[in-house]
């Protein structure tokens, strides 16, 4: 079976298992919406520059996304399913990419529901630069997902993995989050990506490429030692 098909098999398995229970998706979605709504009562959007609201949005995405990413490899713990995956004749890279893609789609789904909520409660016309915003959302989310998935594998056998995962991932995510925040801050105010902000886009692309390559290379070592 080709590499791409193996990636899709792992991705489909994770999505099917998650959609049967919706544990992580519901928790992530509820967390994002509740935090956005609660903060809207604290933050007067008229007093805060709209550009800064992009920062808030990405912090919510990162925190809520962690709830999905926590489950990525933790899903394999009951019944020792990880052993069977490691024993199967698939590369660590295919396993990693399948899991990362499944988590990416789940986090993206949460973000696409949270965006209109953000627009309503913060009085932001977020869709003015819809496609560039989608590009930044996809790139930022892939960065969050790659780092989250690799650390999910690293912490899978730790008892306090739900606590450890955010502590490990957020410092690593800083460059990607900074890029996504800067770009989103502009895009939600209707400012397109220009020569002064394209550097952030390049940073985001570079982060994604670098950490995807590093994760794919290291995952076998992380899983087997």
């Amino acid at each position: 079976m080709s590499f791409a098909r193996l990636v899709l098999v792992v991705m489909a398995k994770d999505l099917r298992a998650e959609l049967r229970t919706k544990e992580a998706l519901n928790a992530s979605l509820a967390f994002a919406v509740v935090i956005l709504v609660l903060l809207s009562f604290v933050i007067e959007s008229d007093d805060v520059p709209q550009k800064a609201l992009g920062n808030l949005l990405w912090l919510v995405f990162a925190f809520a996304g962690t709830l999905v990413l926590n489950r990525s490899f933790a899903r394999e713990v009951p019944n020792d399913c990880l052993d069977a995956l490691v024993a199967a004749p698939i590369s660590g890279a295919a396993l990693f990419l399948g899991k990362a893609l499944a988590s990416f789609l789940l986090v993206l789904a949460m973000e696409l529901v949270a965006l209109p909520v953000f627009g309503i409660f913060y009085n932001v016309r977020w869709a003015q630069q819809f496609w560039p915003l989608m590009l930044v959302t996809v790139l930022g989310t892939w960065g969050v997902t790659v780092i989250g998935t690799v650390f999910s594998a690293l912490t899978v056998n730790i008892r306090l993995r739900e606590v450890m995962l955010p502590m490990l991932t957020y410092p690593m995510l800083l460059p990607a989050l900074l890029g996504a925040m800067e770009l989103t801050g502009d895009l939600v105010t209707g400012t397109p990506i220009g020569p002064d902000t394209v550097t952030w886009l390049k940073l985001l692309v570079g982060f994604d490429v670098l950490f995807t390559a590093a994760s794919v290379t290291l995952i076998e070592f992380i899983l087997v030692g």
């Binding site: 099917r16 899903r75 069977a84 199967a88 087997v224």
Partner: protein
């Protein structure tokens, strides 16, 4: 060529040597029973042979190559302490998933054949989380056997099995041996294991205390190896 060869293997957990200079081999078509008290290193050794963990020193080869080689992994079937099937998926979905991961030509048909063989065809679309313990174990057996592995590594395969699951497993193991497959199994249930075994290895505190052919004397008196070579 030996199907399984373990040469001078050491495995450390921190400073503690869980395996100490282990040398073992199992010829093609042999059934090697790994016996030993709790904590002797049976599970650690089987996991190392399966390629789940790296060893400190020494070499492990399955069919002449490293257990981490994808081609070698295609030839290994493993049953560990967990059933390694997903509670959120149905029995058929679980087996189809593994058939796909092993690159079998017709995953859905293979899954259905194994569900029939293990007596689970009537619950094939039921979620595993709704299964009884015995049904889950039969599904685990189907999962380990469905890609027709040349080498079977079984860690305590008879533990907590119901009568029907024991019968299914024993029948599959006998068929496997008749077809020339190699089995390495760790167990505390000496009688069941020695009835199948062609060779026996006794582990005592991470070391091989005895390794030799399984004799009728041992089958008649399963505690004999422990008394002669173990710690009583």
């Amino acid at each position: 060529m030996n199907a399984v060869a373990v040469e001078g293997v050491w495995k450390f957990y921190g400073d503690f040597p869980a395996l100490r200079d282990v040398n073992l081999e199992a010829a093609s078509g042999a059934c090697l029973a790994l016996i030993g008290r709790n904590g002797a290193g049976k599970t650690t050794l089987l996991r190392a042979i399966a390629g789940f963990s790296k060893t400190g020193k020494g070499v492990i080869k399955i069919l002449g190559t490293s257990p981490r080689e994808p081609a070698t992994r295609r030839n290994i079937g493993f049953i560990g302490h967990g059933i390694a099937v997903y509670d959120e998926l149905s029995a058929r979905e679980n087996l189809t998933l593994y058939a796909r991961l092993y690159g079998l030509p017709d995953p859905r048909q293979t899954a259905i054949e194994w569900l029939e063989r293990t007596g689970l065809e009537r619950v094939r679309d039921g979620l595993v989380r709704e299964f009884s313990r015995g049904m889950r174990q039969r599904l685990a057996v189907a999962r380990a056997f469905l890609h027709k592995p040349s080498v079977l590594l079984l860690d305590e395969p008879f533990t907590a099995l119901d009568d029907r699951a024991i019968a299914v497993l024993q029948s599959l193991l006998r068929d496997s041996l008749a077809e020339g497959r190699t089995i390495v199994l760790s167990t505390h249930q000496l009688r069941e294991a020695l009835e199948l075994a062609s060779d026996v290895a006794l582990l005592v505190r991470g070391q091989v205390a005895f390794h030799g052919p399984c004799t009728p004397e041992m089958v008649a008196d399963p505690g004999l190896v422990y008394r002669r070579h173990g710690e009583g």
